[in-house]
């Protein structure tokens, strides 16, 4: 047992960090530090920089652009990326549909889609959830009926993140209603420009637009856009969700948020004393750092175990990462509320702030604006990607045998 990173791994970390320093545009980094969302263009720009370096899709098979890094290096890369902070690659392509196509797709699908995902020429979104199928995903109802060389799709997806930007959507659809619900599901790739698709925005409680409803009305999808076999979609979906685990805890994001908290709590004063020197705040912050350190070590144990684990087979321990990771990220947003105090109050939506930002001064400290919206918005982290309740059910069943 040697719990330290090897000299090679430490050198790798330096190399990654050096590349980010040299290549990430400062305005994008600044936005991330300030707690604003990177724009579509920011994400595209950064993805293409990574792609030129050969680091766009580290987790993929080498023949499709993967780097061949072992799980520890994959982890180090993401940790550096998140804590730098740089925009995370659009997960729907790089971490979700890309690996599924690489594993189960036809040769034509691989050639057609994978390079365009790596370069973010195609923006993908995830069409799994439906109004009646959230935690109980397998009960989904969107229907696809085979007619010659097409499927005709009817139904509705919801909570579809950034569908407003999307060129393509990958969907789970029902192709057989007569069997057990998991056994009648098919995985389709659908061009968002196909007639019959309507995207409607859902405004989140912070005022942002990141999720949508997507309606399908007699949408014709060529059979060649089916991944793998008909009615085997659930297996591919499980593989997809199992692949998420290296990213799920977002330890790097929390590290960066804590660094930022320290910076701001040193500026904000309670009387003559910087907030960070008041015992109550200092101890709350320290307690959170301890939790985060524990999570990082747990994450590394999962990563190390991954070297010997079958690809795409979910490790139930990743549920620990999801639960703790989301709780810690949410706790960082609560501490930021503590820092801004009364200046949580003003509501200046991000696009308006961007439009008028240059001539209207902020209300209170210029860093206070995103505090409350982020606190509100990040409640989602314990809801999506398998809610924390569902993750605890997994631990109870799959690990504890209850």
């Amino acid at each position: 047992m040697d719990l330290r990173f090897t000299p090679e791994e430490r050198a790798f970390r330096e190399e990654v960090r050096g590349f980010f320093k040299e290549n990430l545009p400062e305005d994008i980094r600044r936005k991330m530090v300030d707690g604003h969302h990177p724009s579509k263009q920011d994400i595209v720009t950064w993805q293409r920089i990574l792609n030129r370096k050969g680091w766009a899709v580290p987790n993929w098979p080498v023949e499709w652009g993967g780097t061949g890094w072992d799980p520890v290096r994959q982890y180090i890369f993401l940790d550096e990326l998140q804590s730098f902070p740089a925009p995370s690659p659009l997960q729907f392509g790089v971490y979700m549909v890309g690996p599924v196509i690489a594993q189960f797709g036809s040769q034509e699908q691989k050639q057609r889609f994978l390079p365009r995902i790596a370069n973010l020429d195609d923006w993908w979104c995830q069409g799994f959830s439906e109004p009646g199928a959230g935690s109980d995903l397998a009960s989904l109802k969107t229907k696809a009926v085979r007619e010659g060389d097409h499927y005709v799709v009817n139904g509705q997806k919801t909570w579809t993140t950034l569908a407003q930007h999307a060129d393509w959507i990958f969907c789970l659809v029902r192709t057989d209603s007569s069997v057990k619900k998991q056994e009648g599901i098919t995985f389709l790739l659908i061009d968002m420009k196909t007639p019959g698709i309507t995207v409607r925005p859902i405004q989140t409680l912070d005022g942002g637009h990141e999720v949508n409803e997507v309606f399908f009305d007699d949408v014709k999808v060529p059979v060649e856009n089916r991944v793998g076999q008909e009615n085997k979609g659930w297996d591919y979906a499980k593989f997809l969700l199992g692949n998420e685990r290296t990213n799920i805890a977002r330890v790097g994001v929390s590290k960066q948020r804590i660094r930022r908290l320290k910076e701001l709590a040193a500026i904000e004063r309670v009387g003559d004393v910087p907030l960070i020197e008041t015992p109550r705040f200092a101890e709350k912050l320290a307690a959170l750092e301890i939790e985060l350190k524990a999570l990082e070590m747990t994450q590394l144990r999962v990563v190390a175990a991954e070297r010997t684990r079958e690809k795409g087979k979910p490790d139930p321990a990743s549920s620990i990462l999801k639960i703790k990771g989301s709780e810690i990220q949410q706790a960082t947003t609560e501490l930021l509320l503590d820092v801004v105090g009364p200046y949580a109050l003003p509501y200046l939506p991000e696009d308006e702030a961007a439009d008028h930002g240059s001539n209207e001064p902020p209300i209170g400290p210029d860093w206070a604006g995103p505090a409350a919206p982020t606190y509100f918005n990040w409640r989602k982290i314990s809801i999506y990607g398998g809610s924390n309740e569902i993750q605890k059910n997994i631990i109870a069943k799959a690990i504890l045998g209850l």
């Binding site: 009387g271 109050l345 003003p346 209300i363 809801i383």
Partner: protein, 382 residues
């Protein structure tokens, strides 16, 4: 000991609840919020007609002579409907300053318009550097013959953009954060030298940054002693906190009901999600937090009129801590149990969550008041 309402108090509660049930459902609230000042003028008139704006004022001033219990009744109902009108700013804060600090002539001059719904007020007190320290005031008031001249910047003035009059705290002596040397000045919002920048707040209400540049105030527009206003400010802020505790309880109560209703109707895995025991327990925890908050809101109401400032303050601070903590438990729980629906603008539960979160940030958050309770020796006598 009696937690029951008197007959008059029950009538007040019924009438305000009925008014809101008729005219303030969630869809109506959205409409009201689109009004020119972010609230509905016609609702303000309705409150005036029902006597709600008269609640805390003495009968000889044209009020109905209510106390903290009556204010609690109104505010709790307002919390349940997420009312947007400037009741806290006008009736509780400004009205409180007028009740405690104004002369009989001043009350006669100002209260009829306030109670009648013709004039709205805002309390311009907070400043950029002050955080939650009520004595931290840098805006200056300088003698000018019989009157005064105000200079400086006020921030986060609740409903300051639409108010007809502002009550401005300003320093007449001493240095920033001195307890002595504060005065209260009543200023017409459109007086020369007053400029305001209004903006929405996270909870759908409004506030303003107010800048005062050589604003003249006549001798009749000073409230009480121009050097000794802090005790009145502290007292009124304690009353406002008690009122906010009641509002938060109303909001939490509604959030909790919405959640329990949702647990009964939302189905996943072929069954209402309320059949999952873990969700039942979470709803039970939220209920416990709500009831603890309700109890402390009662304590705050009971102590809001306490003459001994030290006793009053530590009870009020204790209540504010409980409200802040319960607000997080109930608010976060309500959103979580609603799943994706909980984080949308379209559905009401998120709006209650936002209001309760902002109540925590008003007049001192839970940490601020926790430190104060500790400094004052806790709530249980040694």
């Amino acid at each position: 000991m009696d937690f029951d309402l008197s007959e008059e108090q029950s009538l007040l509660k019924d009438s305000v609840e009925r008014l809101l049930a008729d005219r303030y459902d969630f869809e109506a609230r959205k409409r009201h919020g689109r009004g020119p000042h972010g609230y509905a003028r016609e609702m303000w008139q309705a409150y005036a007609e029902q006597g709600l704006l008269a609640v805390p004022f003495a009968e000889e001033d044209g009020g109905i002579g209510g106390g903290p219990v009556e204010t609690m009744i109104v505010m709790e109902a307002f919390g349940g409907a997420l009312v947007l009108e400037p009741y806290l700013a006008t009736v509780v804060l400004a009205g409180g300053l007028i009740r405690h600090a104004a002369s009989a002539e001043q009350r006669a001059a100002w209260l009829p318009g306030l109670i009648g719904g013709e004039t709205t007020y805002a309390f311009a007190h907070t400043e950029r550097q002050a955080r939650y320290d009520l004595a931290d005031v840098g805006v200056s008031a300088r003698r000018d013959g019989e009157g005064w001249i105000l200079e400086g910047e006020k921030s986060l003035v609740l409903h300051g953009d639409s108010a007809d009059r502002l009550i401005v705290s300003a320093r007449t002596a001493g240095s920033r954060r001195d307890a002595n040397g504060l005065g209260l000045f009543v200023v017409e919002a459109n007086a020369p030298g007053v400029s305001r920048r209004g903006y929405p707040t996270q909870d759908g209400q409004r506030a303003a940054e107010v800048s005062l540049s050589s604003v003249r105030v006549g001798p009749d527009d000073v409230l009480g002693s121009p050097e000794g206003a802090l005790p009145a400010i502290e007292r009124v802020v304690d009353e406002a906190i008690a009122a906010l505790c009641a509002e938060a309880v109303g909001a939490m109560d509604r959030m909790h009901r919405l959640t329990v209703e949702y647990l009964k109707t939302r189905k996943q895995f072929g069954t209402p999600i309320g059949t999952f025991q873990v969700l039942q327990h979470r709803a039970a925890d939220m209920f416990i937090a709500l009831e603890q908050a309700r109890s402390m809101a009662f304590l705050a109401t009971m102590m809001a009129g306490e003459e001994d400032a030290r006793e009053r303050t530590r009870a009020i601070s204790g209540a504010k801590v409980q409200i802040g903590r319960s607000g997080r438990i109930v608010g976060q729980g309500a959103v979580q149990l609603h799943g994706g629906v909980g984080v949308t603008m379209e559905y009401s539960v998120g709006h209650y969550f936002k209001r309760v979160t902002m109540i925590d940030a008003l007049f001192g958050d839970a940490d601020h008041h926790l430190a104060r309770v500790a400094r004052l020796g806790g709530l249980i006598a040694a």
